[in-house]
């Protein structure tokens, strides 16, 4: 196995544990003063890249360089630092304060791929904020690269990889030549927790910054958000007085009988 370069795409999203609130205008989700963290599926992707690197180093069959990339506002750099603390080698931040839709991100990533020429691009299967599940597939389409999505197991071969995919009601195993796109599913691995000394060291790792204009990409939104509403509140339960009462309520209110 030769020397690999692995590009990992990460997104900064509202932390999974935060209760999501819709703003007063119903046009977007409140993001101000809300805890953000790396998209959990991207953590899995970063971990996978690190595991590949460690496996190569252990078997002395090659080396891997891990480049993490994030597109979004300046604060995305926090997410990149987290990935660097986990074990990535260097980071690329594509700065954009504007909304980035999956197609825009895929085009930005294509531009980064053309600069970096990686052997593999790993993305989370979806981000937990917009749940689009599109970026990896779109990137594969734009680059005309093979893709292995929803990976739950990855084995690296010589200039190829064998990926076990999670599909409805089972798993599917595919083999693809490199370079290729890999998107991660939940069970692929257990992401490590960055240790404090590594967080300090990550501050010194290189982080390159690009703007959308540098990459010459059209990020104009193609989709329009019409309205955002919170899910309906759960109605409280009722205590019924008797069996007759219950039957009556099931018949007339719940209409299940």
């Amino acid at each position: 196995m030769s020397n690999l370069r692995i590009l990992v795409a990460t997104k900064r999203v509202i932390d999974y544990a935060v209760k999501i609130r819709v703003n007063a205008a119903g046009s977007a989700v409140e993001t101000a003063n809300v805890k953000h963290s790396m998209n959990p599926f991207d953590e899995i992707g970063t971990e996978q890249a690190i595991q590949i690197k460690e496996a190569l180093a252990k078997s002395k069959t090659g080396t891997a360089e891990i480049v993490v990339v994030s597109c979004g506002p300046v604060k995305s750099q926090e997410t990149l630092r987290t990935a660097l603390a986990m074990g990535a080698d260097r980071a690329i931040h594509v700065d954009s304060e504007e909304e980035l839709q999956p197609l825009a991100v895929a085009k930005l990533l294509r531009a980064v791929v053309e600069k970096e020429k990686p052997d593999m691009v790993i993305l989370g299967k979806q981000a937990i904020d917009d749940d689009s599940n599109q970026t990896g597939q779109m990137l594969a389409g734009l680059l005309n690269w093979p893709q292995a999505t929803f990976a739950s197991k990855v084995e690296l071969g010589d200039k190829s990889m064998t990926v076990t995919r999670e599909v409805d009601g089972g798993v599917e195993t595919v083999k693809t030549p490199l370079p290729a796109i890999l998107t991660t599913d939940l069970r692929l691995n257990v992401p490590r927790y960055a240790s404090l000394p590594n967080i300090m060291k990550a501050k010194k790792k290189p982080l390159a910054k690009f703007t959308v204009a540098d990459l010459g990409v059209d990020i104009k939104p193609r989709l329009q958000t019409l309205k955002i509403v919170e899910p309906a509140k759960r109605q409280g339960g009722k205590i019924v007085e008797s069996v007759d009462d219950l039957v009556d309520k099931l018949k007339n209110e719940a209409k299940v009988l």
Partner: protein, 113 residues
């Protein structure tokens, strides 16, 4: 306490304090317990005994990391894999390759009190 041990203990304290920031019961709650646990052992002099406490601290670190992971994993599972049976989740969790060694169940001995 010899100097290397001293650094080791301080590093352990910092790591635990850092981990505690996300503790479900609150960072303040965790920090109080953390300080109490360290202060209780401040007069230890026997190197073997001190080492034992450091090992325990490392173990607690791993347990907390495992707990955070399980919380996140379960939240994701609940959100995106609603149809999957609960037993299925549990077997997968047990089969997950814990990078933490020992493969001990992470939920059993969490430092709650």
């Amino acid at each position: 306490m010899s100097t290397p041990t001293r650094y080791r203990v301080i590093a352990l304290y910092k790591q635990l304090s850092y981990l505690g920031r996300e503790y479900p019961a609150g960072a303040d709650y965790f920090h109080k317990k953390l300080k109490g646990a360290f202060m209780k052992n401040k007069d230890l002099t026997d190197p073997a005994e001190i080492q034992k406490r450091i090992d325990l601290g490392d173990y607690v670190c791993k347990e907390i990391e495992a707990m955070y992971h399980i919380n996140k994993y379960r939240a994701m599972k609940k959100r995106y894999y609603e149809d999957a049976e609960v037993e299925n989740i549990q077997t997968k969790l047990e089969n997950t390759n814990w990078a933490l060694g020992g493969g001990s169940s992470a939920t059993q001995s969490l430092p709650r009190q």
